[in-house]
Amino acid sequence: MKRLLFLAPIAVFVVVLVGFMAGLQRDPSILPSMLIGKPLPAFALAPMRPGGQGFTSAELVGQPVMVNVFASWCTVCKEEHPVLMALREQGVNIVGLDWREDADAGARWLAANGDPYAKTGNDASGRIGIDMGVSGAPETFVLDKRGRVRYRQVGEITPQVWSQTLGPLMARLRAES
């Protein structure tokens, strides 16, 4: 009995280790979303500046849209940023969700680096991110005209990701009636 007690630490450790292994083995880029085919949970995002405008989930219907989760502390977002700016030039509809930071920090970051978003809102506590199942930044949800999630891109949108996956998908969604 006493021996079993001394075996407990390693038993627990093995379980934790297996958990970590599984967590790493999963390719984060193929994480499906539980929300595929469903609308995003209803939310209302705070404005980025005092007196400004945030946006709500209800505003995301009518045309296909990419909901991009970003933050000024996220270094990968910085790499992704020029791609988003280029997409904006092409007229792609992108909205920004400033995640887990003060709106002020996000607003400053956008002012410094350029703003690729049609609408921007802030989720300082990360509460809305939890509802959406956000795993980290950057992350992008692709919504169709009816506001349903059709795809979830975990991690950076590289030019390759755009040309191979997201670009064709957005074109298809625009063609849907």
Partner: protein, 672 residues
């Protein structure tokens, strides 16, 4: 080894050798670590003095070669050798020299090299200063440390070579993340690493003791200074990190429950538990197997801390070098190191001698409660940090847990522990009477009750949490003062003499607990009374905030060494004034940072961060943060207590065991 050609960007033949020498030194260190592991462990098993001496020599040489490799990388940064990929990626010739050198550990590869360097220094230290250790124990400790060094040197050489060359070499490098160009970066990561890696000594001692099948008071006396030597820099490192985030991130916060912050907090919590339980083992010979387990787990959590930042398994403010491949390697290292140690534990620990018995009301009892609370706190942080990973595995999505979780889960366990802190040092070893103990704490209790009453009278029932927090701080501070106070006033000798003869160990204990009290004071102040205000201000405009009048005098541009700054000058009158503050925004070549203006005072800070320009003015954010500076003062005071303790001759590294030492363990035979 260097040539300073014009512009610092072209390099001669000698420069181009530096990186190769560094690379070669790393490979030699790897081979020496293999010798150190083999000779140490095999020599101890055979009782072969020649092999054990070889292990010691290898340890010193290995430390030397890692130091050489580190120096080579630092030189490459200092002379702007952009043909080294790492240097080109993390520095440019415009950067001040101090930050170029600090960039040595600002990257993933460089920080792993620093990790290995600290490990090498610890190993060499144990080899040189460990002469009074039992020779076989010393050889095994060095052997275990060499195994860890092998793992990390291999990690460096095979997956993250810092000395890779670029061909052709670029003329200029890119920028080190400007957020990291701060005195905080120069000191904060190295201190954390000294702390993390320092626990490898405790881990090696634990594994060596299990291999020997022998854990006694002499062992604990040896381990405690090494644990303390890791705990002090870790405490300072965490405090500096918090201070850096406060000054540099411009969010006015001091702790964000960010995964990487948590990663340093977990080993700190367990390391603190280990410090206390090793005390019981040293004085009373009890808690042997628990102390061993803590030593193993503390270092494992330090490894997990490294793993978290490297693997990209969680997102964080600090996530640089996200690479699952590296994550798998480090996870493998954790698996092998911790797995082997815990298997050894399961096999050997049951046969360890049980210690002396003690009553539940006793200092041992209090320390067990302390350990229990600290372990639970550590577990809550662990659970909160890794919840996303495990929730995802159960089929749900990845989510992350925010600050609300911690304030609901952490506080209920932290408060009883903080109340207990004052009782511990007042208790006698072995057994004590509850009624006498209560009498001993009557002064701190009276002080706390007075503060509570005063708080309730002045702020009313709405401020009951704040008043309770202040009372808790008062309880801790008065309790800390009572530790030496009890000796000074109750002693038979004159006051001056009893103050002079107080052992540093007692003073250190008192100072460390005092620091905890100050920390609680700061946390209470800022949690209960912080206020903030955001507004758009134009030069000449003023506003009232938290009892002050704040006027924006001017907004002007100024040049820094490698950035342009926009300085907003504020004049403040009212509480603590008049004074002026300058809040900066710095535009670096590729990014921007905010340098908040902070007026520091014991009663509270005024924190101003200047934001974007809008409508002819700038967006200004003001915070009033009562008592916040005591958070960091408390952290530094705690570390200071550790330093004072370390100076106690009973703990001095390598000091011969005094005959009068209260421990019952056998006196270790001198090595050599």
């Amino acid at each position: 080894m260097r040539s300073d050609s014009a512009g610092g960007a072209t390099e001669g033949f000698y420069d181009s050798m530096t990186a190769e020498i560094g690379q070669f030194a790393l490979i030699l260190a790897f081979l020496l670590a293999a010798v150190q592991a083999g000779a140490g462990l095999w020599g101890a098993r055979r009782g072969e003095p020649v092999l054990m001496a070889l292990g010691r020599a290898a340890a010193v040489l290995q430390g030397g070669f890692v130091a050489l490799a580190f120096a080579c990388l630092a030189i490459s940064y200092a002379v702007c050798d952009f043909s080294v990929a790492l240097v080109a990626a993390h520095s440019n010739s415009q950067q001040p020299l101090a930050y170029r050198i600090a960039a040595t550990w600002g990257s993933h590869e460089g920080s792993m090299l620093l990790w290995v360097l600290v490990l090498g220094i610890y190993s060499a230290g144990i080899a040189v200063f460990g002469r009074t250790l039992r020779e076989t124990l010393q050889a095994r400790v060095l052997g275990v440390q060499a195994l860890i060094a092998l793992g990390f040197l291999g990690f460096l050489i095979f997956t993250s070579n810092p000395f890779l060359r670029l061909s052709p070499a670029p003329l200029e490098g890119t920028e080190l993340n400007p957020l990291l160009q701060d005195p905080g970066l120069v000191t904060h990561p190295p201190l954390l690493y000294i702390g993390y890696v320092g626990f490898s000594a405790a881990f090696a001692f634990a594994a060596a003791a299990l291999l020997e099948g022998r854990v006694d008071a002499a062992w604990a006396r040896w381990v405690r200074p090494w644990v303390l030597a890791a705990w002090i820099p870790l405490t300072i490192g965490i405090t500096l990190g918090s201070l850096w985030a406060y000054c540099e991130l411009g969010w006015g916060g001091w702790w964000f429950w960010d995964p990487v912050e948590n990663a340093s907090l977990m080993p700190w919590l367990l390391g603190t538990a280990l410090l206390h339980s090793a005390l019981v083992l040293e004085r009373r010979g009890a808690l042997a197997s628990w102390t061993i387990l803590l030593a193993i787990l503390t270092f494992s959590l330090s490894l997990v801390g490294t793993f978290l930042v490297r693997s990209g398994i969680l997102t964080s403010v600090h996530a640089f070098a996200v690479d699952p491949q590296r994550g798998i390697y480090i996870l493998g290292l954790i698996g092998v190191a911790t797995g082997a140690a815990l298997a050894l534990y399961a096999w050997r620990a049951p046969s360890l001698r049980a210690g002396a018995l003690f009553a539940s009301v006793s200092r041992e009892g209090a320390i067990i409660l302390n350990n229990l609370f600290l372990s639970v706190l550590c577990f809550t942080v662990f659970a909160g940090t890794f919840a996303p990973v495990f929730i995802e595995l159960t089929g749900k999505d990845k989510i992350s847990v925010g600050p609300p979780y911690y304030s609901w889960i952490f506080a209920p366990f932290a408060v009883p522990l903080l109340i207990l802190v004052v009782f511990g040092p007042m208790l006698n070893w072995k057994r004590d009477k509850l009624s006498t103990v209560l009498r001993r704490v009557r002064v701190p209790a009276a002080v706390a009750a007075a503060v509570l009453l005063l708080g309730l009278v002045s702020v009313g029932w709405k401020g009951v949490v704040a008043a309770a927090g202040l009372a808790l701080a008062a309880w801790l501070i008065a309790g800390a003062a009572a530790i030496p106070g009890r000796r000074w006033w109750a002693g038979r000798a004159s006051l001056g003499r009893s103050i002079r003869t107080t052992p540093p160990g007692i003073l250190g204990l008192s100072i460390a607990h005092l620091g905890l009290g100050l920390l609680v004071l700061g946390v209470t102040g800022v949690t209960a009374w912080q206020t903030d205000k955001v507004l758009n201000m134009q030069p000449g405009q003023s506003t009232t905030f938290a009892g002050r009048t704040i006027a924006l005098q001017s907004v002007a541009l100024a040049d820094g060494p490698n950035y342009q700054a926009r300085q907003a000058r504020f004049a403040i009158t009212g509480a603590g004034g008049p004074y002026t503050l300058v809040a900066e925004r710095r535009a670096y070549a590729t990014s921007q940072t905010t340098e908040a203006a902070i007026h520091v005072s014991p009663l509270g800070n005024l924190y101003i961060s200047g934001g974007d320009e809008a409508d002819g003015g700038i967006v200004v954010r003001l915070w009033s943060q009562p008592f916040i500076m005591w958070i960091w003062v408390g952290g530094f005071v705690m570390a200071g207590g550790g330093l004072v303790s370390l100076s106690d001759r009973r703990l001095r590294l390598g000091a011969p065991v005094r005959a009068a030492a209260p421990a019952a363990g056998p006196v270790p035979a001198a090595a050599e």
